[in-house]
Amino acid sequence: MPNTAINYRALIGIVLGFTLLLAGGYSVSASSLTKDELEREYRSSSMRAVARDAFPVLFNPTMGRVADGDKIIRPNQWVIGIAMGGEAKAYPVAVMGFHELINDTLAGHPITVCW
């Protein structure tokens, strides 16, 4: 595999430029809200949909090789892919629709994959 440079510093730079978008067309700058305001906004606009961990969250799931993927994933199916630090991982969108959240590592770095 070609060497894929990790550039976490650049990534942090990207993130710093972002402001928060809240679904439903309501947007607000994350940095403009105090901790208390965030708490209030969260409490006023969130609702319980299912029990905690009703969606089966995965921790460091067993990952296959390309040949394993080929048995299950059609060539034109979407995958969420990440390549950094000389490692690449792919998570089929169809699987993410069920598990929604994965705690994994990439090249030794802990990551979360959500959909």
Binding site: T4, N7, L38, R52, V66, G81, A90, P92, G97
Partner: protein, 223 residues
């Protein structure tokens, strides 16, 4: 996709996330097992609890067709499980849900590039604050990806180039004449051979759905 490492009170901490089961403005909330703070998964911002106001670092994942991903990364590992859905929530899945576009960046500065426009232009050099980006499309597989087009601190400008014998899609930068693979972002011929441009955050969406969520969002080529 986010990093799970966060500096908490001077200590580098690895967080583990669970699914809170709560929806906040149509986006699911996750909690961390270390502090029980509540996080918006789509923004990476903690909204409640000890870490409220803290943000996770975004990682530049790409949504691509399996056949293309494995060609670029033949030693990729893959979560080889049976899937139950081909559609989830606000994002896409396939064009039978409507015309697709590529959403680049996050928050109010995110911009949508309809595939229809990309098909006409093939390679788009643009700016999505705070970055100079290039958006490319693969017309045969109906997929698009976005990269930061800064190399050594300066933006390159790309133009489409004829595919090679293996039908790998290519582009050329105007500054050095180097040939680059469009979907991998790797320089393959010319002065910058061996270099890579880095993917930036992008997700394919159904255009109509994106318009509902990003009601003030800009759709390329609009300003």
């Amino acid at each position: 996709m986010h990093s799970r490492i966060l500096n908490i009170e001077g200590k580098k901490t690895t967080l583990e996330f669970g699914h809170e089961g709560v929806l906040y403005r149509q986006s699911f909330i996750m909690y961390d097992k270390q502090t029980d703070s509540k996080w918006n998964h789509s923004t990476g911002l903690a909204m409640s609890g000890k870490l409220a106001g803290r943000e996770l670092e975004f990682l530049p994942s790409r949504v691509m067709r399996w056949e293309s991903w494995k060609k670029i990364y033949p030693s990729t590992r893959v979560l080889a499980r049976e899937g139950r859905f081909d559609f989830m929530g606000t994002y896409v899945a396939d064009d039978h849900y409507g015309a697709l576009g590529l959403s680049v960046g996050l928050g109010p500065k995110a911009k949508l590039y309809p595939f229809e426009t990309l098909l006409r232009e093939e390679v788009v050099n643009d700016r999505v604050e705070p970055q100079d980006v290039v958006i490319v499309i693969d017309r045969h597989r109906k997929q698009a990806v976005a990269f930061s087009r800064n190399v050594d601190g300066k933006p390159l400008t790309f133009k489409s180039a004829a595919a090679d014998k293996e039908k790998t899609l290519l582009m050329r930068d105007e500054q050095t004449g180097t040939l680059w693979e469009r979907l991998s972002g790797r320089a393959v011929k010319g002065k910058l051979t061996g270099r890579e441009i880095l993917p930036t955050i992008s997700v394919p969406w159904v255009v109509e759905r994106w318009k509902q969520i990003y009601s003030d969002g800009v759709i390329y080529p609009g300003r």
